[in-house]
């Protein structure tokens, strides 16, 4: 076990994937000499050369589109999109090409791209640097979407994503980049939990709190705070956003009867909508109250001085838990 930050763990995962498979190449803006604006690719160009760690011209559609061509040729490209808000110029290539080419070619061509996206807010950045665009990709058939919350998952799941023959959107919670954790660098990928599996990160009995990425830490804090008030929250880290691993969610909700989903993305058609809908469909007779969503508002990301109001925090999560529990002291004063 080694103590690593999230960025170091991703860096180690990239390094290991490149060592294991010469067909793994990295593409992105400023990922080479600079090592990325977050230093995630630090040192990799030096060690693997500029033919495998490629500083590209400033054009996201081309980063994805040339990666498609590289995949045609048998490479496993790992693209870095510098910030969440800069993925949209590459949207067409992702939706119409990356997601569809395997089906379009009757399975004869594979698109084992990994598209790394530092995402989410809370770091005091200007516009377009704090977005949570994951729902767009979850709605897009043909893609897999994952998000990590800790260094070990980052290391393991990134390697699994790169090894996957399906295209994977890999969302990195940038405000947790400096969070440290123990990482087993010798982890056996075939024995590690699949990147598709959700994980119960805190056991509880009263309410199921589902989240992913940057808010897992906050949800765990909320569970601790609630415990002091005698409320037992089960926290689930989704890990895979598409497909969602409903097994553990269903099992948990059947026990607790109550569901809260929380994410930074806007509420309307954020991932919470799908989870509330699917759990309602699957566990209707077990639900004791309406599921609750605690999310960013339906607004463009606000100026950073106001982001704390947009982002779900511990208090808003607990307010959501109160609502799910139908507790009279619910802060919002709103019914479900």
């Amino acid at each position: 076990m080694t103590t690593l930050t999230l960025t170091q763990a991703i860096n180690a995962g990239l390094r290991k994937a490149m060592e294991d498979d010469p067909k793994v190449v990295l593409l992105g803006e400023d990922i080479g000499t600079l090592g990325g604006v977050f230093r995630v690719t630090d040192g990799l160009m030096k060690d693997f050369g500029s033919h495998r760690v490629i500083d590209t011209p400033l054009a996201e559609s081309a980063i994805i589109g040339t990666a498609v061509g590289l995949a045609y040729r048998g490479f496993r490209p790992v693209c870095e999109i510098q910030f969440d808000g800069f993925i949209y110029p590459g949207f067409d290539q992702i939706v119409s090409q990356v997601a569809k080419l395997h089906m379009r070619t009757h399975g004869q061509v594979r698109m084992p791209l990994t598209i790394r996206v530092p995402f989410g807010g809370g770091i005091g950045s200007p516009e377009h640097h704090s977005e949570s665009p994951e729902a767009y990709f979850v709605h897009t058939s043909g893609l897999r979407v994952i998000s990590v919350s800790n260094p070990q998952d980052a290391y393991t799941m990134l390697r699994q994503a790169i090894a996957s023959d399906d295209p994977v959107l890999f969302f990195e919670p940038k405000r947790r980049y400096h969070a440290k954790g123990e990482v087993d660098l010798e982890v056996d990928l075939s024995r590690a939990p699949s990147m598709g599996a959700a994980r119960i990160v805190a056991a509880g009995t009263d309410v199921t709190l589902v989240t992913y990425g940057p808010l897992v830490t906050t949800a765990l804090d909320a569970a601790k705070a609630a415990a002091d008030e005698g409320i037992s929250i089960e926290v689930i880290d989704l890990r895979s956003l598409s497909p969602v691993d409903y097994g553990p969610l269903e099992e948990s909700v059947r026990r607790t009867g109550r569901l809260v989903v929380t994410h930074e993305a806007s509420e309307t058609l954020g991932l919470g909508a799908e989870i509330v809908a699917a759990i309602t469909e699957r566990c209707f007779n077990y639900l004791e109250a309406a599921p609750v969503r605690v999310t960013g508002f339906d607004i463009p990301y606000p100026p950073s001085k106001l982001e704390k109001h947009h982002l779900p925090d511990l208090d808003r999560m607990l307010d959501g838990v109160d609502r799910a529990l139908g507790r009279p002291n619910s802060l919002s004063g709103l019914e479900g």
Partner: protein
């Protein structure tokens, strides 16, 4: 010095290059001639045969569309020299990224005729295995394939291969951001990619003048990419131009751009009505530049095309047309449950659940076989 066009190494050759004029007369072109010095009469006959055959494919497919056997067809009438001249300049391991219109190219590449038709029939997503023929599926998103070709070419360099990727694109496509980004990447990484632009003068109803104020071939030099403007109705010149670009690519010379100036004699697709937006004069003018007629005259005037050879070509075209028709009509409808195939390479719980649900749903109509037949009736 700072004039980007001053260095002969990256200089455009923007005059319209020709080897056979519209009237079938030979033309001297010093740049192109060396690239086809080896082309003998037999090879010329081969090019003629190819063009006649793909024109027949085009007619047959148009007829099949009218008869309801194809959902849609994008004719290549008038563009035979551009398609044949370019594809015949390529080696088998050169990788082709076509648009929807390069069905003649696909045929030359060896793709099965029924397969080529299957996507236009609406029964398949691809008509061939891209890896088997080193040719991607037809691209419908305008311009997108130019990035794929560039990426593939970057991969060739990484793999140390002396091969190339070629992207076909139309004049309309040149307006898309993706095409620009391809040229930026191709130039920066000196990728062995050939941009083969068929300027057929129209993008559906829009004349090329709307997309480009000055000749399209003039853009590439601004990226440091050498560019050639060639008579796209002159199969020999197109062959030579493509070989020029291919030679550059294979010898580490990086990307090239070819503008093949041709004309879309038919509608955009069988769904289009060109009389709404263009007159007969233009059509007549271009009819006089027909690629097949001119090669025929060129050969005839040199005594290299006799009646037997003509007949052999026609017979070949007849056979191909018959094969196409039979293959197309004989293509079975795909199985309903196949809509769930190949979305992912490995199991996917949500989709598997939907598949399972739909399978049971279909089965409920008519017992066990329902999942493999079409559901026509309503239940009420």
């Amino acid at each position: 010095m700072l004039d980007a066009t001053a260095d002969p190494g990256t200089s455009p050759q923007l005059g319209l290059h020709q080897l056979i004029a519209a009237d079938g007369a030979g033309v001297v072109d010093e740049l192109l001639a060396p690239f086809v010095a080896d082309v003998d009469d037999e090879q010329l006959l081969g090019l003629l045969s190819d063009m006649v055959v793909i024109r027949r494919i085009d007619f047959e497919a148009t007829a099949l569309q009218r008869q309801g056997q194809l959902a849609l067809w994008p004719p290549m009438l008038g563009q035979e020299a551009s398609q044949i001249g370019s594809v015949r300049a390529l080696a088998d391991d050169d990788f082709i990224f076509p648009t929807y219109r390069e069905n003649g190219v696909a045929y030359c590449r060896g793709a099965d005729l029924a397969g080529i038709m299957s996507t236009w029939r609406g029964s398949a997503n691809t008509g061939w295995d891209p890896h088997e023929f080193n040719m991607a599926t037809p691209q419908i998103i305008i311009g997108a394939q130019t990035l794929h070709a560039t990426g593939y070419a970057m991969g060739l360099t990484m793999d140390g291969k002396e091969s190339l990727a070629i992207a076909y694109l139309g004049d309309g496509a040149t307006s898309q951001g993706d095409v620009h980004e391809s040229m930026v990447f191709a130039a920066s990484f000196q990728a062995p990619v050939v941009f083969f632009c068929q300027n057929n003068h129209w993008a559906i109803s829009e004349p090329v003048g709307l997309q480009a104020h000055v000749p399209i071939a003039g853009r590439a030099p601004g990226y440091g990419i050498p560019s050639l403007r060639v008579d796209g109705n002159d199969v020999l010149a197109v062959l030579a131009a493509t070989r020029w670009a291919a030679t550059r690519a294979r010898s580490g010379g990086g990307p090239s751009f070819i503008e093949a100036v041709t004309y879309r004699m038919g509608p955009h697709t069988t769904a289009d009505d060109p009389t709404r937006y263009r007159g007969l004069t233009e059509l007549e003018e271009w009819g006089a530049k027909d690629p097949i007629a001119r090669l025929r005259i060129f050969l005839q005037s040199r005594g290299k095309l006799d009646a037997d050879q003509e007949a052999a070509i026609e017979a070949k075209a007849d056979a191909v047309a018959a094969e196409l028709r039979a293959g197309c009509i004989g293509t079975p409808d795909p199985a309903p449950m196949s809509i769930f195939d190949n979305v992912y390479t490995s199991p996917h719980a949500i989709l598997d659940r939907q598949r399972d649900h739909y399978e049971r749903y279909l089965a409920s109509f008519s017992g066990a076989t329902a999942a493999n037949t079409l559901v026509e009736g309503t239940r009420s």
